[in-house]
Amino acid sequence: MTRAIKIENLWWKYEASETWTLKGISIEIEQGEFVGVMGPSGAGKTTLCLCMAGIIPNAVKGDMRGNVEVLGKDTRGTPLSEIMKDVGIVFQDPDMQFVTMRVIDEVAFVLENQGVPRQDMIKRIDEALTLVGMQDMKFKNPLELSGGQKQRVAIASMIARRPKIMIFDEPTSDLDPQGKRKVFSILSKLRDKYNLTIVLVCHEIEELVKYADKIIFMRKGEVIKEGSLKEMFNDSAIAENNRIPLPQVTELYYRLLKSRGLKFIENGPPLTIEEFLTLFNGNVEKGRVKEISYTRTHYGEVVLSLRGVSYTYPDGTKAIKGINLDVRKGEFLVIVGPNGSGKTTLLKLMIGMLKPTKGVVRVFGTDTRELSVSDVAFKVGFVYQNPDHQLFCNTVYEECAYALRNAGLDENEIRYVVKEVLRQVELQGLEEVPPYFLSKGQRQRLAIAAVLAMRPEVIVVDEPTTGQDYEQSQYIMDMLKSLNENGRTIIMATHNMRLVAEYADRVIVLIDGKIVADGPVRKIMSSLELLERASLNPPQVTLLTLKLLGIPALTISEALSMMVT
């Protein structure tokens, strides 16, 4: 095999920074390998991608030590345009990388720059857009698509270009579960067909284990562990000590061994449902499962009501079609659905940012058409999917104090409230730091704090865990759950079915702007056909217990309590 990327003792420090973002990284990647890069926020994954693509040190200023060789060329002495002939990179935030006004033009742009003949270009654009399921959207403006659709366009641009090395920095964070699966599968097929090298940063360990040859786990600028999948997960202690997230079935396997005092099985832990079933089928009996609760009934009065609500965008897209919905005080409601199903639009209608083109949305009994956005804001708070769309003040303190000043509170009271909300989201001590200097996880928490400061009764959150590692996601979800237990109503849109299973009470499934299912989380999670239709997958542990025991467990602990070996 030829070497695609060789990194030797790489250290990198950004121009404005005092600390090293990468600390002594040494990696070798062979041509044709599919490599997964994982790690918590702030681990240096994006910086590593920029180094592999030659953007660092060619277009970003800072202090670099060590060497990076891409297909035998030292990135330090090679012009970026030369490196880019063989390397392609998809960035984390697709919003920032669109340079044209139509999906088709965006994919064509890279091919035009490459000098691809027109007929070949048309064929490759068509093929790439079909692969990512965006053929019908080719004349849309990329900036007007949903988060997941934008990511599909960015991936299509890369697929059409077919460079020898493809680097993806969290390209699937906004995709629905089946969309993610499809992208992984497409990349794997392309790798096999064209012997491409794929470096993919992501948090989806359960998908990664199916396709990656090797995984690199990073933390605080260092490579903590690197190796094949079996090597990575063979020792639960290493994973636990380094807080490496495990696939649900692997975690269940280790907990099952530990709780039953069983010995480790030689072939290594199961990484997929199929492997678990092969290992345990026949050895597991249904345990004494306590009565499964399907419903929780003690909710308060209706706080949000939608009657016959439809919404059509100026470009004619019918995003919401005749929705009827009541949300009661104290509910933890999660809206799920495929990319572009209208989730964000529905949330924006709930907070009065969009007014329905048909029907009525009532917030605490008042029609949102009679209220300004600022009137609704103190009753129903909204946290954006991308915190950067929400943070606009110079410091963390100012960000939280902004709404309170609008409400006319005196400075002493503002100081007290800000201190309290920053404590709740664990950002105390960062009051004077500009929001743009925080990590993405911290910015998301600050966005929630800024809304919490307004003390709204209902908190509407759009995909709060997008692009966050599992620890951060759990942290945010625990915070929302605690707010919910203290009486706040939570309405959230997400694709993360593991978190839906662990935290939600009620789930709404939205497809093509219509509610196709509305019910308790366990009931929805057991409706495999419905989830399939909505491009969703139940969590690994739910699917496993359904297959193994015929009962849907929502969490690993629940699955453990259901099993008798």
């Binding site: 960035f91 920032m96 139509r102 720059n113 003949p117 027109r118 606009f392 609008n406």
Partner: protein, 271 residues
């Protein structure tokens, strides 16, 4: 609907289907004509025709309303500058000012003409820009033998302007979601509220520009000296004719302006 730089347009609008070169040429001709013509009557006719053409061309007239505040401010500035600071001779002097200038009947007519010129430029540019996309600018300029790098930069500048507008709405919505009511208060209070948008918009703008540099490199801009193109826009005979007519009209106007007083303001040059 088709998304252009600044709005959504019905895809059957006759203007949207125009050849990119014609769109660019129309934009240039309208602005040059408005700069050449000083006859208030001709300007009034041109302006009226343009306003009346919005509906049949399926461009929402409400586009102009978005620039209304800006237009009113410029109109006021033009009016005040002529009323308070000019010495245009006329048949009747209406007002003599202590600092030596005066307002005559011709001052009023000239100020009115200048306002018409400005409105013609504004309305005409709005009409054409309402149907322009990045592809129109890039391909239009390339067809006019402008190098790709310059054509793409100009197109990107327009696109950045429309992205800036979208960012403006995003930040404004975020502020509204935290209790800022932009529609309440006196004009000074409103100005104060809007001024708070400046810092986040500047930060966003700087970030976008910094990232754009390496995103364009990552997308292979400048990778090959010879670039290929997805679209082909062959000129039809009618479009060629329209280009000849528009170019001739522009040349004739310049000649008329230089050689006769046909398009000039009555009484010009003032002595």
């Amino acid at each position: 609907m088709v998304k252009t730089f600044f709005l959504h347009i019905e895809d059957n609008s006759p203007l949207i289907k125009l050849h990119p070169v014609l769109k660019i040429l129309l934009l240039i001709v309208i602005n040059i004509e408005a700069w050449i013509i000083e006859s208030p009557l001709i300007l009034l006719i041109v302006l009226t025709v343009m306003i009346l053409s919005f509906k049949p061309l399926k461009v929402p007239l409400s586009r102009i309303a978005r620039f209304l505040l800006f237009a009113v401010m410029i109109v006021q500035a033009i009016a005040f500058s002529y009323l308070l600071g000019s010495t245009i001779p006329g048949n009747i002097v209406l007002l003599k000012l202590p600092w030596g200038t005066y307002v005559s009947d011709m001052t009023l007519l000239y100020a009115f003409t200048m306002i018409l010129r400005f409105l013609t430029m504004l309305v005409g540019s709005t009409l054409i820009l309402a149907v322009m996309r990045d592809v129109d600018i890039t391909y239009g300029l390339i067809s006019m033998k402008v190098p790709f790098s310059i054509a793409f930069t100009i197109s990107l500048a327009f696109r950045m302007a429309s992205i800036f507008l979208e960012d403006y709405f995003k930040v404004r919505d975020s502020m509204a979601l935290r209790g800022t009511n932009f529609s309440s208060g006196s004009i000074f209070e409103k100005a104060n509220k809007y001024s708070r948008l400046a810092v986040p918009l500047m930060v966003l703008g700087v970030r976008r520009m910094m990232e754009l540099t390496y995103i364009l490199e990552a997308k292979g801009l400048g990778l090959r000296k010879k670039r290929t193109y997805l679209y082909q826009f062959p000129l039809k005979a009618s479009e060629k004719l329209a280009i000849v007519v528009l170019t001739s009209l522009m040349c004739l106007s310049i000649v008329a302006k230089v050689s006769s007083r046909l398009l000039s303001f009555p009484g010009w040059p003032f002595v």
